[in-house]
Point group: C2
Chain length 451, copies 2
Amino acid sequence: MGRVILQQTTPQIEDIVEILDQRDSASVAILFAEAHPADIADALESLTPAKRPHAWIHIPESARGEVLSELNEGVFKDLALELDNKELIDAIKVLDIDDIADLIPDLPEAILADVLFAVDSETRTNLGEVLSYPEDSAGGLMNIDAIAVRDNISLEVVLRFLRLKDELPDHTDTIYLVDRQNRLTGILPLEKLITGKSTDPAKDHALPNPVSFHTLDDEEEVAKAFADYDLVSAPVIDDSQELMGRITVDDVVDVIRDQAEHDIMAAAGVKEDEDIFAPVAKTTQNRTIWLGVNLITALLGSWVIGQFEGSIQQLVALAVLMPIVASMGGNAGTQTLTVVIRGMSTGTISNRNVFNVLRKESLVGVLNGFIWAVVVALIAAVWYQSWSLGLVIAAAMIANLVMGAIAGVCIPVFLDKMKVDPALAGGVALTTVTDVVGYFSVLGLATLFLL
Amino acid sequence: MGRVILQQTTPQIEDIVEILDQRDSASVAILFAEAHPADIADALESLTPAKRPHAWIHIPESARGEVLSELNEGVFKDLALELDNKELIDAIKVLDIDDIADLIPDLPEAILADVLFAVDSETRTNLGEVLSYPEDSAGGLMNIDAIAVRDNISLEVVLRFLRLKDELPDHTDTIYLVDRQNRLTGILPLEKLITGKSTDPAKDHALPNPVSFHTLDDEEEVAKAFADYDLVSAPVIDDSQELMGRITVDDVVDVIRDQAEHDIMAAAGVKEDEDIFAPVAKTTQNRTIWLGVNLITALLGSWVIGQFEGSIQQLVALAVLMPIVASMGGNAGTQTLTVVIRGMSTGTISNRNVFNVLRKESLVGVLNGFIWAVVVALIAAVWYQSWSLGLVIAAAMIANLVMGAIAGVCIPVFLDKMKVDPALAGGVALTTVTDVVGYFSVLGLATLFLL
């Protein structure tokens, strides 16, 4: 009878970390022996770097490879430097080829050759094949464990062939049908072997609209197709339609999660594989460049303000109110920017309809500009007893919210054309625009009409 | 022979949109007849709301239900109001129960009862069951199409039972084993029916470490488990261990994508189901609240500046330089905030190690504060020919970057304790802190030491 466990991930991690803190080795070994490699990886990530090698020795040897491949890149890189080379190689060499290929770019160079020597020659050849594709392509994502049979044999023969194997590769929901030249001709769902008539030729039960990928297809396109078409696995073919391997949903789920992680982290100028417990010096170094970029954009805003020092001296209220206009423009612009970036990445926004988006977002900017211009004008007028000051702030507010909307549409479109990731550079470019326009419109209008 | 198609989603959408623009109905019908429902849904989302009902009539009736369930919520809600009620009901009633359950909360109230009458009584009962669980729970996510067999029968009998069915439900990679009381006792991989000895009892081939979920488990926990344990499907049980249904990976992929979408959109104050082409008035309304919240926080910053009007009048350079300090603190704080929110959501950061994170991030703040304090102090000193002004800006910079780091750790921890989504409120809370502290430290220190 199967033991049924309920999903209780977090407490398990907590237990492991607590027991490690108490240096209770025996209990750690027991916990690790029962835990899933992904949970052990989570526990390792929750530890400070110094403690991780101590935890490592308690991980059962059979689970070590999978633990490594579940680790965050940053954590893996550091841990790989700390571990005994032989232990590291023993752990890695038993993994699936796609998992080994994923780890290789992050391995210390010194042991890279040793890993390639440690695997058997067939694995080495296949590894060379997988590594020859870009990391973010279908070829880089695929595994070479696809089961293929000739398309003209009967279901019964397919069944007999499969029975020769003790176990099928994980996520085998389909068998691939090929011709003499190993060219993909169809996809046979596993269940047809059970429900189909055993004398039928395999190709009679092939899927009506099979989806396959080319080795050079982008992994984000692959992920979108898996999500849209509810796939569990899909074959990968080359130019001549030859079956090269297959992609499985578990790897696609990782791509989707990594992509989301990247988009969120990049917008804040943080590397998505940052180890939370990395040494202070390393983290500072990782993050400082972003702050430098931000400093340049902030200086641009300050330079604009500096052009109007005389005006500010005459009317200090401008210094008090100008950050409000800059901030509101930045926020409204970020709303537009976020919607446009998402729309571009899902394909909803394209060259064809981007002008519709621009027109609509600008109108939203005008409308929201008016709403909040009235509110801020009232506050300014009451605060400083000056209707003309209120009017200047209101006009600046409308100008900046419209500018924010326009920049929110144009910046990601432009960055995309320049092959720069909008998720990374869009936010900082947008707030530079709205800061500069916000300060300039408040101070410029005030200088023209109030002083 | 299966037709092998390469993944070319985007051009298809473009084609559909272009042909619709040309009002070439025959071509649209041909394209829709061949397209996957998910691609048709993408095409509908790329159209302006007015054009969508015109496109709808060309969608084959058999695909309409799936198209609806692939649509973004905002787009579905609007389209549902435009369509003929009978057409809408006919499209929905043929869907799987979990898909109907997903659409129901977004249906116009007027036709809700009609939908419930249109489905057969078994579906209605099951729908009541699924709808009784929270939308974001395992119960709300599950479908009731799990195939269960008694655990003591042989593989051969299981096979015969499955052969009676013409087709198995999508994503059936496992069969569930139950006892007399329908309590889950194990999970049998489908491939064991092919590779196992046919006289063996089914339970002998059950998975050694099956994962199951309770109906009330949170869908994010479910998604993490699917990703960590590489699941294709998993059973859902109730308190008494009775098998209630199963969750499949395609729905989990949607949960992961929706969650990522939510995190990205919420941080910018945009609803994740916003229809890019919704009417201007509606979009303005959706976004204006967020701008109002932002205005309040901006006013807080202005109020702080207002307390030092005299100082600014004496030294206008303060008005020029203070936004730099506020902005750098905001950016450094956002880096910490982002890392902490991700760490909390993956479980890497918990109560146990949050003080390690706080100490580390504060030190990063100090270090980055020093680096950029030196740079900004030099710029300020050269710009305004005043070393003492440079020193004040440097001190304020260090103070604000450390404050940003502390707030970046404490705000999400606090929000989480208060059951507020840190992805939604974290950013605005953080920049309020760094604006206030940034302005206050520049102006306060200058007032104390320079004037």
